[in-house]
Amino acid sequence: MARGERTVEHGNAGILCQDRIRSCVSLESMMPLDHETIVRTLFAARARLSAAVWLVVRDAQAAEDIFQNVTVKALTKAVAFEHEGYLLSWAMVAVRREAIDWLRREKRGAVSLGDDVLDLIEAEWAMATPAAGGHQVEALRDCLEAAPPDAREILELRYFEGRSCAEVGAHIGIGLAAVYQRLSRLHRALKLCIERRLVAGAAAFAALPADP
């Protein structure tokens, strides 16, 4: 039985009541995900959930914090998640809501993309299988680690320290337009690197001897 719940007698039928919301459902209809499954599922989708947040807030630390907050909410939520799909749908809605709240609170006047555009982008994220997403993020990390120090410095200043492109330019001594160009090239290079690594990884797997 999940935390915060107590079995309640009601006539002859077993029903499950949740202390906090005081609602009851039949035991037969309820197979909630356990905490480990919730964490595993959210962690598997972490890259796309955090990235969806980042698209709105454009702040890596805030994206991480919001992802964690939503995970905490998922674990402490009174309503049970009956399957992983429901959990992920709920999480995508929850992170976007928190991201927009954060933006309104921390960056007044900042403009976000419209809901319909975010819906489209998130739908395409959702179509990526978790397994493929996992390999892709591993490849991305490998590529980032292999990037030249000056490239990493720009990416780190921009995306970890959250500096604006103008600040990045001032820091490394180049103009704003040049920062945009460099970032654009770096993102494209990373994309190519990821694709190559994924292909190489697939080729390596293909070269493995078949199981006896």
């Binding site: 719940e5 107590r6 969806a52 674990l75 555009v117 680690e145 780190e156 995306y159 994309k191």
Partner: protein
């Protein structure tokens, strides 16, 4: 400039917060119509988050977070649980579970009551622990309500893990890292070397300890810290606020950042207290299934199975019990056992059987106080026509359990961490309506 370069710059300027409202509309139109632009934006976002992870990992001088796949979690459930902790513990996404596996022996099991199991961080299989065993970094679980495990580090620091609690520990560059995943922990920490304060975490709090005596309860939505000696720095993970909790004070770090965070003096221990299961819903960490009053039938608490120990062949010994743990009340209470203390229980069984009432204690200074028991044979119960019996037992008549006998003589003068009432290896549908601690 090419169309792609224009598009990329538009995306980057949006992410830079440099677009005018008109340009934002233009970008939205582009994104609605152009899947490649959407893919580009998704990739930039993923790269930005990954860059943040890597930089954060470097800042913490630790490796990046693991790529979690279903297969990996299934083969390493410890990592799955560690991941849960990491998530809940804020920046510590990279904390305990990512330390390099170590074979170094860290602690010795110096006292064991009931059953406990251990699994090493280096992937060692889970096994039942024995008194005297030395353990590497890993996860220790006190199985069952009445279990208690005490482990000692080489510097003499002692950790006592309460029943149904789970603790992970490791050491990094001489610093002890402790994660209380659930349950209760009492600690007597020897003065730690400069720069190597012991760090403890729960899902909602982080603490730094120089050398002190304290008790920690990791509850569903918060962490209760009671400091008996010394000083503990407590950080609430939801908002990063830090407070000092001095001796004889307690604090609660909850998930709610709007909640008060401050140290308050530990209230004097009570010697008289009662809980009425017919009217009050018990905390969900108390063992038992609570049935509220329905259609004129009073509320009650019915026993639930728990693992009380392990037979020599490894078989789990199951008892059926109800527990009362004052630390999980809101606000938490401290109950003091006096020489004239009496426990009174109103209970019912569906068939005669031997019962055990166990007192789980700590000393007033916060260290482990031992477990004490009193067996109730069937002839001692005198049920009325309605099947209910009332028991009154002097605390002086409780004797130390076999494992506690060598070091702890009496429950009198101790703080009651919990009371556990069980039928032994037989499900008698033990039911309790009232529990009282009195003085006579």
């Amino acid at each position: 400039m090419t169309a792609r370069a224009d598009r990329d710059e538009l995306l980057l300027r949006y992410l830079d917060g440099a677009l005018s409202p008109g340009e934002t509309k233009q970008l939205e139109t582009l994104l609605r119509e152009d899947a490649a632009a959407r893919e580009c934006l998704r990739q930039i976002a993923e790269q930005a988050v990954a860059m943040g992870d890597l930089a954060r990992a470097r800042a913490l001088e630790m490796p990046p977070p693991p790529m979690v796949s279903r297969t990996r979690f299934q083969s390493m459930p410890w990592l799955a649980m560690a991941a849960a902790f990491a998530l809940l513990a804020g920046v510590a996404a990279l904390w305990l579970h990512l330390l390099p596996p170590s074979e170094a022996l860290l602690v010795e099991v110096v006292e064991l009551e009931g059953a406990a199991s251990f699994s090493g961080m280096n992937g060692g299989s889970r096994h039942t622990v024995a008194k005297g065993e030395r353990l590497t970094a890993g996860t220790l679980e006190a199985e069952g309500e009445g279990a208690e495990v005490r482990v000692r580090f080489d510097d003499g620091s002692l950790l006592a893990l309460g029943g149904e609690s789970e603790l992970s520990f490791a050491e990094e560059a001489g610093r002890k890292l402790i994660w209380l995943r659930r349950g209760t922990l009492s600690a007597q920490v020897q003065p730690q070397p400069a720069g190597q304060r012991m760090r403890l975490r729960t899902a909602t709090a982080e603490m730094e300890v120089v050398g002190t005596v304290f008790t920690l309860a990791a509850r569903a939505d918060d962490t209760l810290l009671e400091v008996n000696e010394g000083l503990v720095k407590l950080k609430r993970l939801t908002d990063g606020r830090v407070i000092d909790v001095p001796a004889q004070s307690s604090a609660v770090a909850s998930l709610d950042p709007a909640g008060m965070l401050g140290a308050s003096a530990i209230p004097d221990a009570q010697t008289v207290w009662g809980f009425d299961f017919t009217r009050e819903m018990p905390p969900d960490r108390w063992r038992g299934t609570w049935y509220p009053a329905v259609e004129g039938k009073p509320g009650r608490m019915v026993s639930k199975a728990y693992v009380a120990g392990r037979a020599p062949d490894g078989r789990a010994v199951t008892h059926y019990g109800i527990s009362l743990r004052p630390a999980y009340l809101d606000p938490p209470l401290q109950l003091l056992a006096r020489p004239d203390s009496v426990v009174r229980v109103r209970l019912k069984l569906n068939h005669a059987a031997t019962l055990q009432i166990m007192l789980l204690t700590k000393t007033v200074s916060g260290s482990y106080g031992g477990n004490f028991e009193r067996r109730i044979e069937p002839h001692e119960l005198h049920p009325g026509d309605d099947g209910w019996s009332q028991l009154e037992l002097s605390l002086r008549d409780f004797t130390p359990t076999a494992q506690s006998a060598a070091r702890h003589r009496s429950a009198v003068g101790k703080i009651l961490n919990g009371v556990l009432i069980s039928s032994l290896e037989t499900d008698t549908q033990l039911t309790i309506s009232h529990f009282d601690l009195l003085t006579r």
